[in-house]
Structure formats: C-alpha cells, structure tokens
C-alpha cells in the first residue's frame, strides 16, 4: 500500500505547540484563534508571523477595528521575537482595515484585502479581529457570503490564514464564520489548582492528528510557551541495556547497608518513593544518594528541591562531611531550587525533563513530590503528574527518588494515597520514641521486580551519612552478600 505523505506544515515557533498540533499548522488551512480579550490571541499570531516571515515567505497582518495598529506595534516591541528587520524588508506588513470598514463596509474590505494579497503574494495572512466582520454584517446571509468568498480567495492564493476573534463556545456552534474554518484553536484562562491559569486547546484541525486536551501556557516577553506534558512526556521503548543486556541494568545506592537490603540493586528506569514524616531523614537520604552516585559510581545526579534552598542543602551536606560543592563545580551534581510559591507543575515538569537530559543525570532526587503537586486538588491529576515524573526517569534510564511527606500518626505511606501505586518501589522512613529517645527506622516496603530484605531496621544519622543498624526490629538479620533471604514484593 502506498504510504500517505503528511501535508506540508507551518511551524508555529511556539514551544510545544507544534507537538500539540502533531507537526504544525497545515499549509493553506484557515485557522480561527478564538478567545476572550487578553487571552493571548494577538501575541500568538504575531509570534507565528515573526517566526515564519522572510522575503520568500511573506506575512500580511490585517488589523480591523478591534485595536489601532499603532497600539499593536507599540506593544509588539516588548517581545523578543520582534525583529524590526522583518518589517523593514517587507517580510511582514501590518495593514489597517479599520478606516475602510468604518466608511465602506465589509464588501469593500474583501476587495482591499485581495488587492494586498495580489500585491504581496503572502504565505501567511492574519486578520485581527475577524469578529468585526460578523458585527458589521447586516445579516447572517451576508456574513456567510462574505466568509465563503474570502475563504475561496485565500484558498486560491494558497495562504495559510489565522482569523482572530473574541468568539465564545456558542459562536463555535452557530457563527457562520466557523463553517469555513479548517482549524479552531481556543485560548482561555480560568482558575485551576488555586491559581489563575491560561489554557490553549486545539478544538479542530483538519489534516492533523492533534491533541484534543487543554494545555496550560504562559506568556512572557518571549511570547507564548505551551506546556503539554501529556504530549511531550511519553514512555519510550526500553533502552538497549534493558532489552539486550548491555551495560549495568541495576544501580547501587552506596548508602550503608541499604544495598544489602535491596538485593541485586534497583533497576535503572525505576522511581522510588521515599516516604516519611518530617524529620525522618528523607532529604538526607536523597542527598547522600546523589552525592554517593557522583563520588562512588561516577553517575551524574540532579536534586530538585522545593523546600530547602541550594545554600541550605550545601550546608547540610558539609555538616555530613560531603564536599558537594566540589561535585557541583565539576559538573557532576546540580541542585535546582524552586520556591513553593513559584511552582507551576506542567512548566516545571518540562524543565525537570530538560535539565535531566542536559546533564545526562542517572540519579534524580525530587524533594518533595508532595510539595511539587501540593496545589493540585484532583487525585487523578496528582496521579498523572507523578506518572509523568516517573516517565521522565524511565526515559532517562535513571533512578528517581521522590520524597513524600506523610502526616504523623497515620497508616498512610504517601501524602495523597496514590503515589505508591505509580512508582516502582517504596522506602518508608519513620521515627518512634523509645525509652525517651527518638529512634529512626527504614523499611523497604515495595520494590518491583527486585528481591529485597523484609523488615524494619534502625538507622542512625552520623557524620558521613546514614547508617543502617543490623539490630533489626523485624525481618531477617542482614548477612554477607549472597547469603540473605531475599523476597520479591
């Protein structure tokens, strides 16, 4: 059977939007950008315009009554994608249709639009706002005729077109303008997870296998940045060393007797939840895991902290006798601190992915996932975000330790009650007051596909790191390697 070729696409130049569109906007499509005022339509269209414009691929940007052209140009200069050269050499032309619309009406506007198209022969045409035509048309019939004519003209001139408008969901169903649209992209903002967030959704895009989800985005002076972890974070097939047995398949933790508890080691690609109440040693365990990886096994590590600042983590490490600063300088370890108040889950998921890939980190600590997703209310979303985090770890073929806080005095092993079902293993840290002394414990609660020692063991935190004591509370005594009675959970 003949393989079908994908139609030519126009890349938007907007981070992750082309992935959402499954390759960009199809050439020649008429796409409606619908959204309330201030939702980002104009900025998105300008960003696409400047990304694509060249003397061979010209862009015509028609302004109608919605915003004076002078105002648009003034704000445009604040964005980093703005390139004055592209306006000087005519790659982009801004044309004001306001006057002719006010004085002559929509019929004459078509003629004017077409005269500019014939003159410039643009690859991309943008009309901001197209809704004005709907407001000026005397009847639905006139609007339908106008839309049909302009659609045919734009098609015959092979223009990829963006029609912007303050359309609402009812318009999508009833406005005749939408009958000519090959694509509809909506932009909106509403409160989610306790914050006002912006969302973009590709409602329709002929000729593409696009994502239909709503995706969050931000507007900065670089323009729009779309965060679409559902699209961009997908599990990859297992790497060669897993499938063909090349290279080490399992990692050592390098922490006291923990490797004896963990049997043959943790498979690369695994995510392990480290749960415990405050003060049980989670941060320290994660920090030691990262530090030992660098100095004992030559594995690069990255520590994402949502609680302790980089400076405090370095000070803590120093107090344990770990020269973590030297490893940071050598490029073996990176600490990334994001204040709780600044967390944007989707944005930071992608940031974590990129940082892990850039460093080629094999050890990843997240302190803590409970803080990372603390604004998310829906347990299903929590589950999805932790799964995506696990996917990042698996794709990087690293080992991820995710700290999670559990409240004192409960039987929970995670903050939200869903984390443990997604990860590959759970290590529980706990503490108890015994004979007026607070004792700390560690327990391998679950570890998929790995034999490990059962039971709860005392730990001590001493200079040099965590020490796992052999005087167990429950479970078998740790014996020399190879002699332990491991079991699989």
């Amino acid at each position: 059977m003949k393989e079908k070729k994908q139609d030519e696409r126009i890349l938007t130049g907007v981070r992750n939007l082309d992935e959402v569109l499954s390759g960009g906007l199809p050439v020649g499509n008429i796409t409606v950008l619908a959204g309330t005022p201030g939702s980002g339509k104009t900025i998105l269209s300008q960003q696409i315009a400047f990304y694509n414009a060249s003397p061979k691929k010209r862009v015509l940007f028609f302004q109608t009554l919605s915003e004076p052209t002078a105002k648009t140009l003034r704000y445009l200069k604040h964005f980093s994608f703005y390139d004055p050269q592209k306006m000087e050499d005519g790659s982009i032309e801004f044309i004001d249709l306001g006057e002719i619309l006010r004085s002559e009406g929509i019929e004459e506007a078509i003629e004017l639009i077409m005269s500019h198209i014939k003159r410039v022969k643009p690859a991309i045409v943008i009309i901001d706002s197209f809704k004005v035509f709907a407001d000026l048309a005397k009847s639905n019939q006139e609007l339908r005729k106008f839309s049909y004519e302009i659609a045919i003209n734009l098609m015959a001139w092979e223009c990829s077109t963006l029609l912007l408008g303050e359309f609402n969901s009812q318009d999508l169903e009833t406005n005749p303008l939408f009958s000519i649209a090959d694509g509809i992209i909506t932009l909106k903002h509403h409160a989610e997870s306790g914050e006002e967030q912006r969302f973009i959704q590709v409602v329709k895009m002929r000729g593409t296998n696009h994502s239909r989800d709503e995706h969050t985005f931000l507007i900065s002076n670089s323009g729009l940045e779309v965060y679409a972890p559902r699209v961009t974070i997908r599990r990859l097939p297992l790497l060669d060393r897993q499938t063909k047995g090349s290279g080490p398949v399992r990692a050592k933790m390098g922490i006291s007797e923990l490797d004896s508890l963990l049997g043959e080691g943790i498979p690369y690609g695994s995510s392990i939840l480290v749960s415990g109440a405050a003060g049980t040693g989670k941060t320290l365990l994660l920090l030691e895991f990262i530090y030992n990886g660098a100095i004992k096994y030559g594995e690069k590590g990255i520590f994402f902290s949502f609680e302790e600042t980089t400076e405090r983590l370095i000070t803590n490490a120093k107090s344990m006798g770990w020269d973590i600063e030297r490893e940071i300088e050598k490029g073996n370890i990176e600490i990334v601190f994001i204040a709780q108040t600044d967390i944007l889950v989707e944005k930071h998921l992608l940031m974590m992915k990129e940082k892990i890939e850039k460093l080629n980190a094999k050890r990843i600590a997240v302190d803590s996932v409970s803080i990372f997703v603390h604004k998310v209310i829906d347990p299903q979303v929590v589950r999805e975000k932790i799964f995506q985090l696990g996917t990042i770890i698996q794709n990087a073929q690293g080992i991820g330790l995710f700290a999670t806080d559990i409240p004192y005095g409960t039987n929970q092993i995670s903050r939200f009650g869903v984390e443990e079902t997604i990860v590959d293993g759970v290590i529980i840290l706990s503490s108890e007051e015994i004979a007026s002394k607070r004792e700390r414990f560690i327990e391998i609660y679950k570890l998929r596909n790995t034999t490990h020692l059962d039971g709860k063991r005392r730990i001590q935190i001493k200079k040099g790191g965590i020490v796992i004591m052999n005087n167990h509370v429950s479970g078998p005594v740790i014996k020399p390697r190879g002699e332990n009675e491991y079991f699989t959970s």
């Binding site: 020649g28 014939k118 022969k121 004519e149 045919i152 003209n153 098609m155 015959a156 001139w157 092979e158």
Partner: protein
C-alpha cells in the same frame, strides 16, 4: 513531493504540445489552447464551484500579466474563461511568446488546482488534456502547408 507533482503538470503539457502544436499558426494555437482549457475547466466545474475556478484563473492571470501582457485580453465570465477577445484581436504576437504564455497559463492553473485539492483531481485533468487532439479541434480550420 510538491515539486515532483508540479513538474508532472509541466511535463504533460510539454508532451501534449509536442504532439499537437507543431507548425500551428498563432490563431490555431490559441484555438487549441482555448479548447484544451475549456475541457479542463469543464472537468473542474463538475467538482469545484465556479467561484473557486474563477478565483484561481484570476490568480494565474494576475501573476502572469506582467510577463505576458496579452493575458489582459482573456476575460473571466460567469461561464468561465473566455479566449474570444484574444483570438479576435489576433495581434502579431511573437509566436514563441504566445506559446510560452499559454503554456504558462495552463501549467500554473493545473499546479494551483493541484495544490488546493491535494492533487486529487490532477489525474482526471491530465486525462482531459490528453484527449484534446488537434485534428478534432482544428477540424474546418485550415492547417498550414506541411502539416500532417
């Protein structure tokens, strides 16, 4: 991919010209092209609206008008493209210029229609062109000495 298909239109027209236009006078050449385009236009209008076809013709004429000024004599009417004024005026066009212009018009028309329909009509349009044979079109018109 697009270029390959664009070339396919041009190659077909070249072949068709080679088989049909040798030794034709300007008037006969115009007659032949009018007939060829008429056939293609009729096939198009079975699928596409007349507005679409006329807008595409307008685009092709607009883009070629500078190089081929005689395009201004081709008129777009509700029934389609009319060659009448061009043929009637029958100025002393340079034969090569006329040939190139008509070739350009046909090739560009097929190309644009191809692009906007993802080439789904191209095979049918090629078939229409192949079926336009000079003997049928120019029946009754005097052929130049030496022809056939």
């Amino acid at each position: 991919m697009k270029d390959v298909q664009d070339n396919a239109h041009k190659e077909l027209i070249s072949l068709w010209e080679k088989q049909n236009t040798k030794g034709l006078r300007n008037e006969q050449l115009m007659q032949l092209y009018a007939s060829a385009f008429g056939a293609i236009e009729r096939r198009c209008s079975a699928t596409l609206s007349s507005i679409t076809i006329n807008v595409v013709i307008d685009r092709v004429l607009h883009l070629g008008a500078k190089k081929y000024p005689f395009f201004s004599l081709l008129t777009i009417e509700p029934s389609g493209l009319n060659f009448k004024r061009l043929i009637q005026k029958n100025e002393n066009y340079k034969s090569e210029e006329l040939r190139n212009g008509l070739n350009y018009f046909l090739a560009e028309f097929l190309t644009v229609i191809g692009h906007i329909t993802s080439e789904v009509l191209s095979e049918s349009l090629h078939k229409e062109l192949r079926e336009v044979i000079r003997e049928n079109v120019l029946n009754g018109h005097e052929l130049q000495r030496g022809d056939e």
